[in-house]
Structure formats: C-alpha cells, structure tokens
Symmetry: C2
Subunit: 285 residues, 2 copies
Amino acid sequence: MLYIVGLGLSDEHDITVKGLEAVKSSERVYLEGYTSILMVEKEKLEAFYGKDVIIADREMVESNSDEILRDAANVNVSFLVVGDPFGATTHTDLVIRAHELGIPVKSIHNASIMNAIGATGLQLYSFGQTISMVFFTETWRPDSWYDRVKENSDIGLHTLCLLDIKVKEQSIENMARGRLIYEPPRYMTVNQAAEQMLEIEDKRGEKAYTADTLAVGVSRLGSDDQIIRAGTLQQLVDVDFGKPLHSLVLVGSRLHLLEAEILRENAVDLEHLNMVLKRDYNIDN
Amino acid sequence: MLYIVGLGLSDEHDITVKGLEAVKSSERVYLEGYTSILMVEKEKLEAFYGKDVIIADREMVESNSDEILRDAANVNVSFLVVGDPFGATTHTDLVIRAHELGIPVKSIHNASIMNAIGATGLQLYSFGQTISMVFFTETWRPDSWYDRVKENSDIGLHTLCLLDIKVKEQSIENMARGRLIYEPPRYMTVNQAAEQMLEIEDKRGEKAYTADTLAVGVSRLGSDDQIIRAGTLQQLVDVDFGKPLHSLVLVGSRLHLLEAEILRENAVDLEHLNMVLKRDYNIDN
C-alpha cells in the first residue's frame, strides 16, 4: 500500500492518528520536500516516528518514482506531504504510476493552507480562485495571476495568494558547469508579494486592487507563533512577519461585518483600517 | 484554555496527535453536533479519548456558552468540531465570549470538506466561492445560491455545494404544542441536491449550468467506503451514494486535461462523459 499522508501545517504533532499509524506500519517513509516545508527538521520527525525519513526532492519524485514504489504491493510505503495530499500540489504522477503497477493507494487528509486560512476570520465561503506568486527576476515578471485576482475582485471575493518557495536551486553558473551546488532555500515574504502586486497594478492599471486595498498577511499558520496582520497592501510591505511560510489574502468587497470585526483585532493600524472599512467597504466602526 | 479541535472528516482516528493531546488534557469535552456529523458514534469517541463527551447542540452553544466556558481560565476545555475549526461554520460567538471572559483560545486545525474535495481530482486552485444548498419545502425554495454559481461558471470555475443537514428539528405540530419531540435527522443526498439545482435552472433559465453540465458527487469523503462519481447533473439524480454526508461539485469550463483524466476514472457512464468532455469542454478522449 502507498499511503499519501498529509502532515498538516506546523509541527510533528499535526499528523493525524490515522496518519501516524500508517507511518508506523511503513517499511519506508518519504517526505516530499520541494513544494512546501514543515516548521520542524527531519530529525524531529524521525524521532517522533521512530523511523528514518528519506527526503524526496522533485527529481526523485519525477524520475525515480519506481524506487519510491518499490515492493509497495507487498509492504507499506508512506509518502508524506506538508498540508493535505490534495492541497495546492497534488501528486498525480506518483498515483498514476502506482495504479499502473497495481499498487493500492490511500490518502490521509489533513489541514492545508486552503482551509486553515479561515483563521484570518475571512469566511472560506467568500474566497474565489487561489493564485500563486513566483519570485520575479530581472527578466521574468509574470502577471497572469493578475487576471485571476481581477475576476475574483470583480465579484467581490477574497483571493488567497500562495507564495513561492525555492528549494535546491542551482545558480546559472553552477548549472552551466554541472556543479551540484545548491543555493540556500528562499521563501517569499508577505512584503515581497505585496511589492510585486503593487508593481503589477502599476503596470496593468485595471484596478484589480490598489495600494489601499485591504489585505491580510499570515505567517506560520497553525503554529504557536503564527502572525496574522490586516492592513492595506501598502502597509503590509513593511510589516515584519518573521520566519516562513508566509501567505497573503486580498480582501474582496463583499466583506461581512463579522469578518471586519476580526480584521480589526489584527489591524496593523486600527485607525487607518477603520477609515478604509468605512470608505471602501461601507462598514461603520 | 479553550481548545477548538478539528476532528477531520471520517472517524475517531482522524484527529491530529496535537488535538488528541488537547482532549486528553481537558476537564470537559464538548462535541458540536448541529452543523456536521462525524461518521462514528459518540461512544466510540469516548472510548478512544477515555473521557465523557457532551453533545453541544445549537441551543447550548448559542444560549449557554458560559457553561461550556466555565472555569476555562483555570482548566482546559475542548470543543470538538467536525472538519476544521475554520471550515464552513466558524464559532465566532463562542470565541468572542471566551475573549470577553479572559479565556485563552487555541484552534487545532484539521482537514475540512473545503480542501478534502481535492480528492475528486479537481484542482483546489480552480474552485470559486462555495455555496450551501438547503432542503426545499412546499413554501420555501430559496435560490440566491444560483447567482453565486453563475458568477463562478461565468469565469469557468468549479463550485463546491455543501448540502443541508437537519438535526434536532421539531415538527410544526410538536413545536406548537411545546413538545420536545424531535424528528429523525435528515441529510441531503446528492440526488436531492441535483434535482433542486435542475428545478432552479428551469425557473431561472440563465444557463449557470444545464442538465448536461458535468458534476461530481461525493459521499463519506475520507472514509474507507467513500464514493466519488462524475457525470452530468441529470445522471447524478439517480446514482446511489449511500449513507451521509454527501457533497456535490459543479465542474467549471476551465477544466484541465489532468482533471478530466480523473473524472474519467470515476465516470458514471464513460462514453457519455467523453462525449460531454469533447462537446462542452473541448477535451479529446
């Protein structure tokens, strides 16, 4: 059996009891390590499980899935993913390959950022489509996500923005020379995401949002030191959210009174927030 | 401390290790029992936790929250909710009351239908706003959700429809006579939801969807006997999904090839599905 086990968002205790039973029954345990990160080290997981954990990078999952699936028709193998198995990234290729090999697959659900974002006080009912924001480079500043945000904001919905992470990247020089030397991992901050959004609004000018649009930045959601701060996009450029992972929500115009109440509790600047709530959302203090 | 603990979707083993630790540390344990149901009985939870579990119905949470919060500044109290604490229903009133009483609150995340629906193969990225469908009565057949579906479908997005449950309802006669006799619980099926949708499309006629629109019905998601079936809305009127809970997804036009691939695996009628995929979604077999 191949178990695809969601680990939840924060630390080793966020696994479900069912997930832990699957891990403990497994002969080999892999941790998917390129689309998200857990806030604990591999060693902590290993101590908690009483098992070795093998980091599966993108290359391994994409070109060496038969090693992951080796003998899984006869023994249990666990493939751990941060969040939920069906969260932002799915592992369709691995599942399809397992099916081809006649290996049964069972997914064990957990929280993902896609539902835990409700901790901001914004109703999950009122979210439109989710977007992903990548690190801009000198020459690559993609803005197709802007159309998605505009579609959401045109009908008053919130937009969850998932922020880029770069793990096991090579510099162009090292790649050219064939040196397997990797850059340190990078995680996009709320500040960087807000800046990139403002840059693209300047360029596109279709008012999907403005510098004064309300937004909520979050970091380390689900952990004891999570941060949730609500303010304008411009304000969020300067708020320190600390260590990764960060995410950002653009607040849609169909904001409900109860949602606004919780934004106030997390306000970067309550006076300014109340002014924007009154002016742009017609919500009184 | 008030812990609000997500139980996940299916059985007692879906609680997280962190959630189980909170329950075990608690002097009193309440189970919110009116917005969703777990697929196991209270007695199983009690045996698993080694604790009594008190069912908190809507009346108790709304008018007797001080009893739930009694002494929670000094001892731990757990309030269990099916799914995630911030899923379809939040418990804002309870949290606000706890804050007023100076009681710290900690939420422990878990899977909810809002992310687990990714098990259908449909990308969470491509879902628009979520709607709720209530049981129609002779005189009350609300259709405001239709506008939400249309907004989603106009931009090609999928729509998750959460289906009504009725727990601890009184008949009008028993209510009039002041008899505390409750009707058996009712859970809307995919069939009923699909029928109600077709009725409202007939009435509104704005083509938010048609009888031939692709949809995915699911039941008991996350359990070993979950059912996922893809077909037209008309076909889903007649598919037996078995015991509750059921949910329904309307498939948006922005369907991706990989998503279609998984719909095929779950097709009610593969030949018809392929015809609709080709005709309405321009996706070849």
